[in-house]
Symmetry: C2
Subunit: 666 residues, 2 copies
């Protein structure tokens, strides 16, 4: 028998095969990424390929007509019933008859790429833990009795080379009816990360399986419902974390647990219910059955982590902030209250880095992948606690810093959550000291003639986190606030917007009759405390890493997406860097969850990486206090900020002597 030259594209893998070899067999022998659910029975159509025609001079092959066999009866029946696109063939049925170049279209590849929208986003390469396997199971035989499960396992071993698969009891209950409904042909969902059967379907399962990537935040729970074959997001959504009623921030929830016996159980129950409800809602939105969700990946901070697991977080509220467990967890979905998903669905929870640096920070590290690049990168995930990661492929360090809730608009006189009506952008004219601003819900600036009309519905309700950062930075840039953070008097600054309120001055940002929005001296102090903590944490990691400059700064988190890099640097929230190298990563934690959901190798990767990350505890580092104090000035008492000052100059003002309020405070 003659053999033929076969080249698969786009991989370029090539080999010689005898006449009559099925294309799928050739692909498997060469390690070409060609999908198959039915194992070559010609019914799933996942192995579709497209043979080329004519001369491929670069590849040194000319494909003659008839290089693949004609349609056989299986392929013909499939084409008649389901329809094959022109030129497409079933890889398991078409056989090699001559030299041929075979294109594997993206939808026939298991490891297809899913492009990420974020600017610096690396694509997700699909390699889902859960795959479907169609098998024919031997019927029971009284003369050789064995359990249906044992014969299913035999079939998976013989037909897919899968061994020692475990099965949860709730799924065992479905086994006998499913096998009989499928007439001894069933599609088995196997979680290859755990070597476990997670769902059973009679006959060939056509519909894709689904997974849920969950970012369980203290304030918001966000989730993506993903197609586990294509990686496509079928629905996204979020709900408020219902634990908020037990305490706005993490520490107040830990306190609630300490003060109220059983309080942790209450918090566990409400968050589990919320997760399950979110799964149901996203499935409804996507028009699918929540019971088709076979896997979920959850990322969260350590307190959320423990409360989700039902572990009292009390140890996380006190030094030495000991986690009950830090390793990644593989659990049944029902164990964490996901009861509307598939009965044997699994949950993967990313590892925690330290008592203050959770699985969410690990997800950020996974999504941003500083360990796979050379630039010295600082990644900051801003929230009530800021998680900070520094490093590159040589070394990674992490810490958390207690920024407090000021960056989220709490502890700010006119502060509010990011919601329609909240001031999110501010500009102040350095000459007139007059402000203009934008509110969430409108793209217009407040000096636009249509602004009033555009914001009629939302109104102007307060200042959100990014708004207060811009306001303070702009006040500093306009010479309203000095480097120590003091607001000048009307005379000093030269505007009546600086008003004496009590013993300190406030800057009037907006008024409408009775309603007035100020930036007060107290607001400035709150922001100074928060930004000093963040900066000090970053500097501490830089000290440990022995670096003075950064190549790249990534602002992660929903909040990070709205921070203006220039304003953040004027404020001295972050160390100095080239402005164009400061970027937002969007919801990097959520993206990391999606990566771990779509690619099982990402799980092993982050587990190994977390073990390598050097954990720095800010609470006990003596230099943290030093850095914190020096970072109180705006932007900083001593650091030169060369990149910042190459772009702009800050007014050299000082209101200290003249300020009565300041004097009283010393």
């Amino acid at each position: 028998m003659t053999d033929h030259h076969v080249i698969f594209m786009p991989s370029g893998k090539r080999g010689r095969f005898l006449t009559g070899t099925p294309v799928l067999t050739a692909a498997r022998q060469l390690g070409v990424d060609l999908d198959s659910v039915c194992g070559g029975r010609g019914i799933c159509s996942k192995c579709q390929v497209q043979p080329g025609e004519g001369s491929f001079s670069k590849l040194g092959v000319t494909v003659q007509p008839g290089a693949l066999s004609d349609f056989n009866s299986v392929e013909r029946r499939y084409d008649e019933k389901r329809g094959l696109k022109p030129g497409r063939r079933l890889g398991c049925q078409a056989t090699i008859q001559g030299d041929v170049v075979i294109d594997v279209p993206a939808e026939s590849q298991v490891h297809r790429q899913v492009v990420r929208k974020a600017a610096n986003g690396i694509p997700i390469v699909m390699d889902p833990a859960t795959r479907l396997h169609f098998v024919t199971v031997e019927e029971p035989d009284m003369d050789a009795p064995s359990g249906d499960l044992e014969r299913l396992r035999d079939a998976l071993r013989a037909q897919w080379n899968l061994d020692d698969l475990s099965v949860a009891l709730p799924l065992l209950r479905q086994l006998q009816p499913v096998l009989r409904a499928g007439k001894w042909q069933v599609t088995v969902a196997v979680n290859h990360d755990e070597n476990r059967i997670t769902a059973l379907y009679p006959g060939l399962r056509e519909a894709p399986l689904l997974g849920l990537a969950i970012d369980l935040g203290s304030t918001t729970i966000a989730a993506h419902l993903c197609d586990l074959t294509t990686g496509k997001v079928r629905a996204s959504g979020g709900v408020m974390n219902p634990q908020i009623r037990f305490g706005e921030d993490l520490m107040s929830r830990v306190s609630y647990s300490m003060m109220n016996p059983g309080g942790d159980v209450e918090m566990t129950n409400v968050v589990r219910d919320a997760l399950d409800q979110l799964a149901v809602e996203l499935a409804a939105e996507a028009g699918v059955d929540a019971g088709d969700i076979v896997e979920s990946v959850i990322v969260c901070n350590p307190v959320m982590h423990h409360l989700l697991l039902g572990v009292d977080p009390v140890e996380l509220g006190q030094s030495p902030f000991a986690l009950a467990t830090s390793d990644a967890l593989r659990l049944s979905a029902s164990e964490v209250g996901l009861t509307s998903v598939a009965v044997a669905a699994r949950v993967y929870i990313l590892p925690c880095i330290a008592g203050h640096v959770g699985a969410d920070a690990a997800a950020v590290a996974l999504a941003e992948a500083p360990d796979q690049d050379d630039p010295m990168t600082l990644i900051v995930d801003v929230g009530t606690n800021a998680e900070i990661i520094l490093g590159n492929r040589e070394r990674l360090l992490a810490c958390s810093s207690p920024t407090g809730p000021a960056f989220e608009g709490a502890q700010i006189s006119a502060g509010q959550r990011a919601a329609p009506g909240a001031i999110e952008r501010v500009e102040i004219d350095p000459v007139t000291k007059e402000p203009r601003f934008r509110v969430i819900g409108s793209d217009l600036w407040s000096d636009d003639p249509s602004f009033a009309e555009a914001t009629k519905d939302s109104g102007i309700t307060g200042i959100c986190g990014s708004g207060i950062i811009e306001a303070v930075a702009e006040m500093r840039m306009a010479g309203i606030v000095d480097s120590k953070g003091l607001i000048g008097s009307p005379v000093q600054v030269g505007t009546s917007r600086c008003e004496l309120v009590g013993r300190t001055h406030s800057y009037l940002l907006w008024e409408d009759g009775e309603r007035r929005i100020h930036v007060t001296q107290g607001d400035i102090r709150a922001i100074q405390l928060a930004k000093s903590a963040l900066y000090a944490g970053a500097r501490l990691l830089m000290d440990e890493a022995g670096v003075d400059t950064l190549d790249k700064i990534t602002l992660a988190g929903a909040f990070g997406a709205h921070i203006s890099p220039k304003h953040a640097m004027v404020l001295g929230m972050i160390p100095d860097a080239e402005l164009s190298h400061i970027t937002s990563a969007g919801n990097a934690a959520g993206h990391g969850a999606r990566m771990a959901l779509c690619n099982k190798g990402a799980r092993a990767h982050i587990e190994a990486l977390v073990r390598k990350i050097e954990k720095i505890e800010t609470a006990v580092a003596p230099r943290f206090q030093e850095h914190f104090v020096a970072a109180n000035a705006i932007p900083h008492a001593t650091a030169p900020f060369p990149h910042l000052f190459a772009e702009l100059t800050l007014p050299d003002v000082s209101w200290n002597i003249a300020s009565e309020g300041r004097r009283r405070r010393r």
Copy 2:
């Protein structure tokens, strides 16, 4: 340094050790079975040994005073606080100073033997799956943060060489408080069969752990609460299976499930509740906490098995009798409703042999161990279905036979369960044809002058299974019944106790005024059907094994304990064998459960054995019908029964021609 000759007894293991070697170290190096929970810290006292003194001429050693070191401070403190028996030493503290013979008392051995009470019982050698390990865990360190669980695992790895232990979520919840209560010293219960942590105790755990061996029968649930260190039974008890209200026998429960949607769930719930309640009651009886039960082993027939697991048993009610799963199962106790035991307790369920031959039959095979002996042994576990095992170390075969409930007193005119007042033994004078009998609750025969007084409370209420077997056999031996099973007329037999009732004769066993207990022609027929099925099953296995004679017959089950071998053989329930080689094994299934509980190697053994057992399905074997028909005669139409007829002669009577009832029936 000099070394010394050290001999451990009773193992006789010997070696040479340097001066100063701790006895525990020497024992471990020689592989001597010497227990330790604290790992050599001198606090658990499990490693107590007793050094010999003087000359041991057979061993070739003379032990001088001072062959072991004097009490050190640890041993002295232990002795003062807890008291050491005279001559006893702590093996981890006493060091070798000269030639010595060291006795390891039974209570210091892990693999101590537990003697079985049954006549042919082989002892249980303790090798429990669950062992206690005391560890000192590193305290959390902010500079090297890791979870408490990870540090516990590190400690188990470093101090006990235990790796990759899994922990269930409910136990993780206890971890942090237990570690702190124990000041970072904890005792860990490790299930070595599953490599899993199943309980955590602060400090050194002194009290023994407990396990529950459960024989879940269709009628009765029996359980032994066992000390997992000594194997001692702390409490035993049983309850009725509450599923009885859904159907007396297995098939009526399967029918209930088929006729009533959700009926299987009801039956699952009630049996799980009953198991949990039984655990609580046995713990209370033993004066221990049910929460100290860390393990349970369950044996049961296939229908009970599936209902316990929550699997609808419908497939077991119809050919080909397919089990959902046949392999052994390792589950969390809570998964099968055992919620009062330790939160992370485990359940081991023995493998099923076939759709009609369950984990209970596997337990019988484990307990009786025919695979470890040469005699060709027949084991019969009589119930509504009889499970039959035949073979020896060469080969084992098993089947079940549908005997129906007659042997349990059902379908018998005066039949009843074995309970006080039930006739259990019968003798009939071959000359006068007068009967005497005994009832459960009294040792007196009915012709004893004190019988009436002794049975006043219970009364005489009916005939139980063993009673009807003896009655029919005695009627055959007395010439009241012929070999075809026909009861003769008063004239034929020569006694007015043979009464015409309807168209057939009945034999009057007892009367008291209005109340009369007969053995009717219908009773004889029911017993004939049952015994024919049992005999045919046994013969079928003998055919398959190619044997004509048996070396040994074992009657298992509570009922088997009450059957008289001679009467069983006169009846032809079982094939012919030397009468003295027919023995009762008592509750062999329950004993098998206890073996699997106390010895983890027994689990691997029965799993391998069940795979090797050849399963014969009586329902489809053509020869089963032949054997069944031939076995209808009493004892048998064709089989010679040489051993039986060496002991006795049966009257050669035949009532056929004269019997009107019989004539009408043909």
